[in-house]
Amino acid sequence: MTPNGAIVFTLVVVVAAMMSRMSGLVVLYLLCALFAVIEVGPNAAAALRRAAILMVPLAAFMVLVWVGVVGRAPADIAASQPGSRAGALVYVSIVCARLFLIVAIVQIAAMRFASITPLQFIKLLRAPMALKRLGVLTLSLIETLLQAVDRAHTALIASGVITRRLSARNVFNGWVLVQTVWLTAITSVTGRMRDKWPMEHTLGLLDPLLAETRKDPLRTPDKIWISCAAVAVAGIVWGDFYGLP
């Protein structure tokens, strides 16, 4: 499978998840399980664990707000009916099932390309060269900025300007950390733009490195998975038309 195919497939599944009710979600869960088993294999467990780690706190928060505090579903509020906590729980379950599916399919699709570097991933994408260059530059500058954050954070703690834990000093002086990081990055980038990159012809070398070698952006497995997702969407629309739950 190619990154292009994975992106299209994920987008179709996400759109389908947003349109679907319970029956549609069941179909999409089956499709995603099949995708995980065939394309990702045993690593799918790691992707699902990560999706669960991301989703569980949000689900708990939703239960707290809707079941604990509000105590009735939005439909009951809209109809000015008393409603019940059970109705709120059903509502939260459907929203969470939909969101978990979306998070899981993104994680599974990302896991499919865990073995290649971000640079290789960007190279395989069918996108304008300027966007590809931007992606590579951003990933490189994120590293520069995160290193600047580490250095400035340690220095400002050592000098007593900010503290490790939440404190009033952090609220008032946290700004110094942001400014230090920005100025570090600007100085470094200005230097690179003026001297280093033109001398080494860095940006010019990026283009052939990022150029796509394949003419066809999608391979056969991509087309099969996208067709399966399209069939699932058609099924969901058909189910909606005939009033499936």
Partner: protein, 206 residues
């Protein structure tokens, strides 16, 4: 429109959006501050408004995609909010670039512009993100503002109205801080760098 210095400014602002998220996490502040780079990008490129809008939207989208993949998978849903933010930044906030860089600092005018644009950005952001918060997340996105939504729902408001009111209450505060930080970073940015970013592409010699 997308000269090399501008591409670098976009990448830098996208990286800033991403890195400030980690700073907020490091110093444990109860804020988002995830659009400072978007506003800053428009300020850096300003006199060319169309370029300012396109570049700040690109910066916002790149940081959103990267954050969605690595940290917060729900952020991509707020792409329309990023679009609105880029529009407000390029067509309104950037108007104040002269005041933001004036020396000595005109405290009153600076403060008024920051608050005005903060409120404007907050209101626009609340309106654009309300349908996503209501229909995708059922009104709860995991932030503290969910308790405001719960409060308004408990008071008998419909979901959409509750989300909108919660947004109008919380967003202007966060966005005013973001405009303030972007203005201060813009003020601190060396003039050389701004000149490089604003320079128009030279036609090739014949």
């Amino acid at each position: 429109m997308l000269t090399t210095p501008r591409l670098i400014a976009i990448a830098l602002c996208a990286a800033l959006n991403f890195a400030v998220g980690s700073i907020v996490y490091l110093i444990k502040l109860p804020l988002y501050l995830d659009s400072i780079g978007t506003i800053l990008c428009a300020l850096l490129i300003f006199p060319d408004r169309r370029a300012a809008f396109v570049c700040s939207f690109l910066a916002a989208m790149i940081s959103t995609v990267i954050t969605t993949l690595f940290i917060n998978p729900f952020l991509i849903w707020f792409s329309a909010t990023e679009l609105a933010l880029a529009l407000v930044a390029a067509y309104f906030i950037a108007d104040a670039e002269a005041i933001f860089r004036a020396r000595p600092l005109p405290v009153l005018r600076f403060g008024l512009r920051v608050v005005l644009y903060g409120i404007l950005t907050g209101v626009v952001s609340a309106v654009v993100s309300a349908p996503v918060v209501a229909y995708v997340f059922g009104g709860v996105t995991g932030s503290g503002s969910a308790f405001l939504v719960a409060f308004f729902l408990k008071a008998g408001q419909h979901l959409m109205a509750a989300v909108l009111h919660s947004g109008f209450t919380a967003e202007p505060i966060d966005k005013t801080l973001q405009v303030l930080f972007a203005a201060l970073l813009f003020r601190a940015t060396p003039k050389d760098f701004i000149d490089m970013v604003r320079a128009r592409p030279q036609p090739a010699p014949t």
